[in-house]
Subunit: 231 residues, 4 copies
Amino acid sequence: MTIEQLQEAVCQANLDLVAHGLVTLTWGNVSGLSDDRDVFAIKPSGVPYPELRPEHCVIVSVETGKVVQGDLKPSSDTATHRLLYQAFEGVGGITHTHSPKGTAFAQARREIPCYGTTHADHFYGPIPVTRPLSEEEINTDYEGNTGHVIIERFADLDPVAVPGVLVGSHAPFAWGAHAAESVKNAVALEAVAGMAIDTLALAPSVPPVDDYLLEKHYSRKHGPNAYYGQK
Amino acid sequence: MTIEQLQEAVCQANLDLVAHGLVTLTWGNVSGLSDDRDVFAIKPSGVPYPELRPEHCVIVSVETGKVVQGDLKPSSDTATHRLLYQAFEGVGGITHTHSPKGTAFAQARREIPCYGTTHADHFYGPIPVTRPLSEEEINTDYEGNTGHVIIERFADLDPVAVPGVLVGSHAPFAWGAHAAESVKNAVALEAVAGMAIDTLALAPSVPPVDDYLLEKHYSRKHGPNAYYGQK
Amino acid sequence: MTIEQLQEAVCQANLDLVAHGLVTLTWGNVSGLSDDRDVFAIKPSGVPYPELRPEHCVIVSVETGKVVQGDLKPSSDTATHRLLYQAFEGVGGITHTHSPKGTAFAQARREIPCYGTTHADHFYGPIPVTRPLSEEEINTDYEGNTGHVIIERFADLDPVAVPGVLVGSHAPFAWGAHAAESVKNAVALEAVAGMAIDTLALAPSVPPVDDYLLEKHYSRKHGPNAYYGQK
Amino acid sequence: MTIEQLQEAVCQANLDLVAHGLVTLTWGNVSGLSDDRDVFAIKPSGVPYPELRPEHCVIVSVETGKVVQGDLKPSSDTATHRLLYQAFEGVGGITHTHSPKGTAFAQARREIPCYGTTHADHFYGPIPVTRPLSEEEINTDYEGNTGHVIIERFADLDPVAVPGVLVGSHAPFAWGAHAAESVKNAVALEAVAGMAIDTLALAPSVPPVDDYLLEKHYSRKHGPNAYYGQK
């Protein structure tokens, strides 16, 4: 994939996020990684979605975090995206939203339990929530430290099997093999968050799905014949 | 109805499901049975809705479950549809969705009580929920066993009078005389599920409607002068 | 207003009901009364909204309940509309919906308390709920008796000041000086029902607004300079 | 900015409010102040949104409250807007809505706690709720007194840092440096109100965000390099 193709894919993924109804005002952004994992394209800061064009998507170095192509300022969440690309092998696209139901779980500082196959088709287990950032972490490199608490939360989790997280008191991040897939996982996260809120209202103590149901859905999508570990 | 007409009706029913707002990503599928109940047409797997054409709808044998016409792979839920057509006389169309409110009830493992005439106009009594599949049922012919637990749940129920079910920890299936009617019942199921969630929040111990109200609405639609038992 | 103008107004009001998002499938209907209160135009039964034309709207006699013009069958709720026109002076338009939040209150068999000015701007006090119909009332002239329990509920209420009701276990009816106004009141009813559900979740024992606030809003719209008692 | 440009901006802001889905029927209005703070343009009363043109926006004197340009009657909430412009330095645009989730908090007479960064990005602390108006305040200059209770509530609050309020038993007002920004804050208020309702359902006793997170988000937008105090 050329840089131009990457910009086009990332631009389209950002517009898809709007089409899926996950964007209020200008909240949210999508990025995508180059095949060699050297750079990523990300939504510029402050360009209204209707005016977004592929050439606006800013190219940023994974190693340095510096802009290597583009006249516009990249999204203010760029440092978070960059750290996740460095830490999460197999992840080639990242979507950040403030989608309402996912954000409600983030604000409640609760993980989203796996209550059904809709969830299990996309996330192998609960969607975790990070710890709150400390005062020092907030005041020093806030966006970078947002990435760090996500990575810390995934110390014992496989980010390909669980392609999303809730940053406590903040909002969801989702990811995938490429930008378009990260948008799909952000859409799935929001849908299962909404279903989980209603499930909890109807049955506050219903258990999550059994492990074998989770395993079944995981292996259908992530087994030897699936994309897991490929790209 | 020719096979071409069946494919057209099934294609349209799948698009209607989208138009009714019941589809997130590619979740959900509709099928329709031929007049002689020998084959059914079903949505292919993995074709985005905007590109869906009648000729993409795959023709599957009710007896063997094999594809008898079409180049595409049928929906992964094909085995469930097939078993329901075999078991449920008078059913000629099936819709599967992960619509949010119906899925919340499925995840809560609660039936949807009949709280009003909106419900009674479409379902003669509560919309039942199946038992969870066992580990063995999940690991051996998962989709077929999904059909089996639905059929088991309807041992003492009339699938024409109660044209829908919640698969526990999964999501709703709805059906009807033909594909279009199954979509309408899926829409009604989602609407009454949403209303029931709010009804329960407002009045946790409100009783379901009286039997004679249920009977009145049932007989208006399913009596000697209605389609019940016909086609 | 000629009969043709009445049909046009009623057709438009039915389409507006769809545009306001209050219609699922074909649930709901609007009617409007002639200036001399002799006949009313009402949505025909079973015509899909996109195909609805003014000439489809059926003209029914208020006195006899018989169709006096039109080839189509009128809405199955025609008997309810007719009785309300006979009983409620100053009402010239009626809207029936199964709008989700209003129907949730009807199913919960709870009135909608007046929690704020949005409500007070349209309804002078709580939106009442009827008693359930008896078995005999359901089995003998069901739609007529639906009208009767509404009228019974308004024995001590002014239908112009409180232009809507919840039929218990059923759904809302709203009305107004003409068809378009009845649609507006149906929209307001649904909006305040939704707000009331959330208000109750946030503050289960919050009192309704004070009488003087209710009075203020009522007199702004229904005082000597307003349409009350006029037409 | 000329008067014509102000009318154009205010007209557009009113249409944006509709586009953001915050308007039911004709509830809601936006105004914008001239650069010299002498007059403001406001939506006329009773003009349907699809017909709203810039020249319809009425020009009102801040000092006298009298219409100085325009043939139409200004919004019935004009007196409230005027008082806020007089009292709140740095505020150049005001939006009033009956948006459903914000109104639910107003009706519940509860402030919206700051549960996350979505809220902190727009409001430096909880969104406050006014006390109820007394009977006398309602019966004498109701709209003016609505302004007075807002101003009273902000005695110890900075309206630029907290650009919105809930009028108890009524609905939200939001504001900003100009009309367009007040619409954005109204959109944010509604979004965080909805998230807060779900947050409270998931975690009734979750604390609001820590002060340093609030401070961080505030200083990103309102520090020496931001628009606070400018305009």
